[in-house]
Amino acid sequence: MSFATAAERRSRRVDRAATLRQRIGHLIPFYYWAVLPALAATLAVVVLPLMYSFGLSFWHYVLTDPRNVHFDGLANYAHALNDPTFRNSLGTTFVYGVGTVAVELVLGMAFALVVNTLTVGAGLVRTAMLVPVFMTPAVVAFMWRFMLHPDLGIVNYFLALVGLGHPVWLGDPRLALPSVMAVEIWRNTPFMFLVFLAGMQSLPSELFEAAAVDGASFWQRFRSLTLPLLMPLILVALIIRGMDALREFDTIFIMTGGGPGNATETIAISTYRYSFRNYDMGLGSAVSYVIFAVVFLFGIYFVRRMNRTRVD
């Protein structure tokens, strides 16, 4: 019986390690290992918090009642869907989202059509149009809140000059939602305008020249050429703005706080109220996932439409 020398034992250990490395390398190629750090970082900062909040949505977890933390199943979802205020906020969100995006789409397209035909001053108009996009939403909200102030606002000052009185824009339930929607439209129409203008300027001019030679009117050219060719861009713009509008928080929160009553309370405001007024993290998380579901379904619908448009 002979014993392995130290050198032989070391050599076997090295061989075993090499074999292990080979097996792992065979199982998972190097390039997968190379993306592992990035994957781990993404998991840590994106996926884990999402999963944590998703888990939280099944718990009764109120920060001010820490002795009563327990698993609650779907109770938070049931609570949210049975809460008339939340159901009302779903409706308000729908009106707000559809209303603002539709008007932005029409106005953005109209402005783009006009600026696209300008031969002089197009650059200046384009730059001026972009100013609202670059303004911080909170600043925009404060600015408009002051401009719509019933006593001190410039809007009511001019209305009073022409004898139209002093409407309470943000305190009257009939005016509050249209007012915040108008501010959102003012802020985001330039985005639509920019996307559509860029799209129009990249369209082949030969098609339009041929249509003009064939005697097509402006409206016919717009309906039969511009609109179909821009459809993929329109859908992308609708997806981006639609998702933004469904999640809108800062403008409404600063301008009306969701009031008067619940007249301007969207689901994002409800989430804030549940999470940071009531400190109900479970319910707040559940409502967040309802928003996620709404935005997800909206996104899926438009992406499918976009893919179909591309195939056509």
Partner: protein, 434 residues
């Protein structure tokens, strides 16, 4: 080559499978209990440590970012000179301070050793606060020096978890010149206030009878709650029901509707800033607001009507005491207590009031000549505070208060009748009262 391709396909599958298994594992982990249940408030005092032994230490203090925070900050040099303890202040605006304290304390690794808290936050924060009862006993604090209606704000479920810093109370601030011109005497009750508002309301000359909040603001719920008390109701009944749901609640909301008829035209969009601004700029003959506006209302640099401002106490006024509490998870409780003891003691409290921070919870400061000189309404203030009412001490107060605010603004803006609004609010409040 094909073998390599096949191997790559299998490996990718395994990779995705591994990811899937990991994701399920993570999901299960995420569904685990969110936080450990904290223990009861500490009931034993830390061993006494001489102030000298704490010299050189520092504490973190979360406070309001307004004139109160500024006034507190001005006292730091004297406190540091007296104890050698450094105070590091973090000033945050009102709603953000509550959020930050709650989230930070719930994390069990608090950002602050000492927290400045409105009395309505105490019930929610109590599980994270240390009991100061043993410290009060250990240091022989003379609690008889404190106004009882201010001192009681720091007690939750029979345990003292905070000391009063600045008891605020609602008072009536009015224009003496307008009252004299119309022969109206200073109101003694809130019914008198409403009567005076209707007499003094003069929209043709741009002067409203009274300025109140009518928009989405905490002052709306504060006034609605006061009107409920005035109508003989309670916010929460003894059997834990929503007190607005009854004749007193309906009367309270109807009275609010009546009041806004004598308010400035834009009242439905008024928050606290517009409310007091209307009074300072001469657009309203009265404002029913916290005593803390006294220094600004009577300061000609801040108020156009400063020289004509009068004041009066009103029965059943709402109390709002700013308090100081110590985090249960603080590792510097002794130094934190030294700060709380000093700033609520005779020297610190006097300095705080002279710096313009607000009122004092202490009789020795309130009855001093210096205080009376700086706060000429001191007598009426003490009378108002003595008869003031407090909001219920429940951990879900924020949620209930928000429902009251929404209920009231929906009535004021004409969306709902008082009965319908109260019925809807009752349903919304119910889950928070179980």
């Amino acid at each position: 080559m094909s073998g390599q391709v096949n191997r790559a396909i299998v490996t990718r599958r395994r990779f995705v499978q591994t990811l899937g298994v990991s994701a399920v594992g993570l999901l299960l982990a995420a569904c685990a209990a969110p936080a450990a249940t904290p223990a009861q408030p500490a009931s034993t005092a830390p061993a006494a440590v001489g102030a000298g032994a704490l010299s050189g230490s520092s504490i973190r203090f979360g406070a309001l970012a307004n004139y109160k925070g500024d006034a507190l900050e001005k006292t730091f040099p004297d406190f540091e000179k007296a104890t050698g303890i450094k105070v590091l202040i973090d000033k945050l605006p009102n709603p953000n301070l509550a959020d930050k304290l709650t989230v930070s304390f719930a994390s069990r690794s608090p950002d602050y050793d000492v927290a400045m808290m409105d009395e309505t936050w105490i019930a929610g924060l109590a599980p994270y606060l240390t009991s100061v009862e043993p410290l009060v006993t250990r240091d022989n604090l003379d609690l008889k020096q404190y106004v009882p209606n201010g001192l009681s704000a720091g007690v939750y479920n029979g345990t003292r978890v905070a000391m009063p810093l600045d008891p605020n109370v609602m008072m009536l601030w009015y224009r003496k010149d307008l009252f004299a011109a119309k022969g109206v005497v200073a109101p003694a009750t809130f019914d008198d206030v409403i009567g005076a508002a209707e007499k003094l309301n003069d929209p043709a000359n741009g002067v409203a009878g009274i300025s109140v909040s009518g928009g989405q603001d905490g002052q709306v719920s504060a006034l609605a709650e006061f009107l409920l008390w005035n109508a003989g109701g309670e916010i929460l009944t003894p059997d834990k029901k929503f007190g607005f749901n009854g004749p007193a609640g309906i009367k309270a909301l109807q009275t609010y509707q009546r009041i806004i008829k004598s308010a400035p035209p834009g009242v439905l969009a008024y928050g606290y800033a517009e409310q007091i601004n209307a009074f300072y700029t001469g657009k309203a003959a009265m404002v029913f607001y916290w005593a803390s506006i006294g220094p600004d209302a009577t300061n000609p640099e801040k108020s156009q009507v400063a020289k004509d401002v009068g004041w009066a106490s009103v029965p059943n006024a709402q109390r709002g005491v700013w308090t100081l509490g110590i985090s249960k998870d603080s590792t510097r409780k002794d130094a934190a207590w030294e700060w709380v003891k000093w700033i609520t003691g005779p020297v610190g409290s006097a300095e705080f009031t002279q710096n313009g921070g607000g009122h004092s919870p202490r009789f020795d400061v309130l009855n001093s000549a210096e205080f009376a000189q700086r706060y000429p309404w001191a007598q009426d203030y003490q009378k108002a505070l003595g008869g003031a009412r407090s909001r219920p001490q429940v951990s879900s107060w924020n949620a209930i208060d928000t429902v009251i605010m929404n209920m009231t603004t929906s009535v004021l803006s004409g969306q709902k009748q008082p009965e319908d609004a109260i019925r809807a609010a009752d349903q919304q409040v119910a889950p928070y009262l179980t």
